[in-house]
Symmetry: C2
């Protein structure tokens, strides 16, 4: 397919259109998708990679392992609700959780910039250690590189993770079926907006904190309870909209969601309006969607609600886009919730019934909305 | 030990002495060692990490896995004998090989700088794919981040790897015993000098090429042949001298090596003299040392020679340091070779008998010799 015969092949990305790498190539949207699909997957092609899931599922001498990697380049390093250290643990733990694995071991690779204050490194290291204890994973191997001043940006961290899959289910886009309901475990947009608020110097009545959190426990609880889980996906770069599109595409289905069912914290909604962002595309670090058969949905919701209870006012947008009036409710036991369902086979379409009753196509993130949010 | 009780602890690196991260903190020498020993290991402490080996050995439901990570920040991206892509595969494969594991799966995490030519990325991707095929490993999961122009340096790559340990031996510093011989698989210094020659614009009669190569096959052959391997270590950052010191320290032994037994390619020796470098400290990417009992040494050498045959002229320095006359021999079947032995228990000392018969202590690399060579 690629250089199996040592042919020098033409670059699969149209060079005239994209002569260089853009920020959007890492943004979780269309350009990143193109890079993965046209360049990486064909070049590295194998059965495991081709599944295109958050973590690779590996069968090894009778054991089913999950293996995943993520680099973290978030800016600033510290933000309300977290920092690059806890993010690097939670993000990778969550990728393992998204195949239903029990996270066990992490590696940590630092790329430090010459001149980084030693105290900053120490704070990040403590945060990694604390987050690893909270997520019940061990850091068993590591690496440290230092690059010259001006060739990095403080700290970049790679964490890779190994987990064990102890259930017989195939949690993957390919298992998604028409009739499945889509459950969202909480309100969306906090992480991206928390980062942007710091960067832009925005102040709100209360500080918007990242939702960064480990998700493995609640996924394992769902599995232990015998819930049939068809697919899981955490809503990081590209947000809910991109995650839905990725799964719709990989599963070959149409997904219909209902806008008024999607919870957004009131201040996040306000910040999105100020910043001209759509919360559907804003990154989260403690939110995921689960595809389950309708008959398992209520039991799944009951379990997920024990983990995601909130007393923050949650907003469901009810009016038209030009005149957004939000009603704040105490949804302390109303999130997580069902936000939509799989309506049939298709080439991969996500539709949303808007608050005024109209249907529109929800596309994958185009361009770069929020660079370096993870 | 660290923040188990959520105490805010003092930074374990003396801030007055090292207020910021220096290039040497990633150089493989004393400062990196201090960072690992005072900060990372105590903060992340667990039984597996504390072994301090190239890869973590993990017992998982009856299987023994190896897990390792490395980030690659080499500059320039392309050099004689390799590039950042093949290096990222070989380096991680070799870390797995150093615990005697069969490398199976790699992750690849890219941190790209905005503005990187797409063709450059494509070349690196092809090189990764080719090196993975050569090393018989699959790339099963990946990640791509893009940082703004001026906040990275073209391409950084993290590869993490999983291997399986199919032998019952404990290949680790703790298994090293007095009486063990130290075998080196080839001439040293090529990789670091190949990189430096490009950076400094040095030209030699023949181009010095990196020794970058996957080592797992020959290690597995040694194991299959029933060689008792006590420890293995690849000679990357900090070179042979630092690897010997790390093992001597972790094993609590004294190691004595003989300078005239250490092969160096004639042109590498010449370049080292021009650059004021000691080949003992120069990084390699296809060289390793093996600690084996004396009775297994000849059989080990026979196997290793089938993998490391060279027709390049190899130099053994024979005169005094002020007046180096090298004798070039056809050592096509003389490398690998025994370079020394473990002479007793100690706090961790490496001694070298020099070419004039004197003994000197060989210390760990101090400061930063060659930044960003891997």
């Amino acid at each position: 397919m690629t250089s199996d015969h040592n042919f020098v092949l033409t670059c699969p990305i149209p060079i005239q259109q994209y002569p260089t790498v853009l920020l959007a190539h890492g943004g979780g949207g269309k350009l990143m998708h193109q890079l993965i699909e046209s360049m990486f997957v064909p070049a590295f092609s194998n059965q495991t990679l081709n599944v295109r899931h958050d973590a690779a599922a590996i069968a090894l001498k009778g054991q089913n392992l999950a293996f995943t990697t993520d680099s973290y380049v978030v800016r600033p390093l510290f933000f309300p609700g977290g920092d690059i250290g806890s993010l690097a643990v939670n993000g990778t733990v969550n990728d393992l959780a998204m195949v239903g694995a029990r996270p066990l071991y992490l590696s940590v690779g630092f790329i430090l910039e010459e001149g980084l204050p030693m105290e900053t490194l120490w704070q990040v290291v403590q945060s990694i250690a604390q987050a690893a204890r909270a997520a019940n994973v061990q850091i068993v191997t590591g690496d440290t590189k230092v690059v010259d001043r001006g060739k990095g940006d403080g700290i970049f961290i790679n964490t890779s993770g190994i987990g064990i899959i102890e259930h017989p289910q195939t949690i993957a886009p390919q298992s998604v079926q028409p009739g499945d309901v889509v459950i969202l475990n909480g309100d969306i947009g906090r992480h991206g907006i928390a980062i942007m608020a710091v960067r832009e110097g925005l102040e709100f009545e209360t500080t918007i904190a990242s939702d960064s959190a480990p998700l493995a426990d609640q996924v394992l609880q769902l599995l232990t309870a015998g819930i049939e889980i068809h697919c899981l996906r955490d809503l990081t770069r590209g947000g809910l909209a991109s995650a839905l599109n990725e799964i719709a595409g990989a599963a070959g289905v149409e997904i219909a969601i209902v806008e008024t069912q999607i919870p957004v914290q009131a201040e996040v909604q306000g910040a999105c309006e100020i910043l001209g962002l759509d919360p559907l595309y804003v990154a989260n670090e403690g939110r995921f969607i689960a595809f389950v058969p309708e008959q398992d949905a209520e039991r799944a919701l009951d379990i997920m609600r024990t983990y995601n209870r909130t007393t923050d006012p949650i907003t469901y947008r009810v009016d038209n886009q030009d005149q957004v009036n939000t009603r704040s409710l105490d949804h302390s036991n109303m999130v997580p919730c069902i936000i939509g369902r799989v309506t049939g086979k298709s080439a991969g379409i996500v539709k949303m019934e808007s608050r005024i009753g109209a249907q529109r196509i929800v596309d994958m993130l185009s361009g770069e909305q929020l660079p370096r949010i993870c």
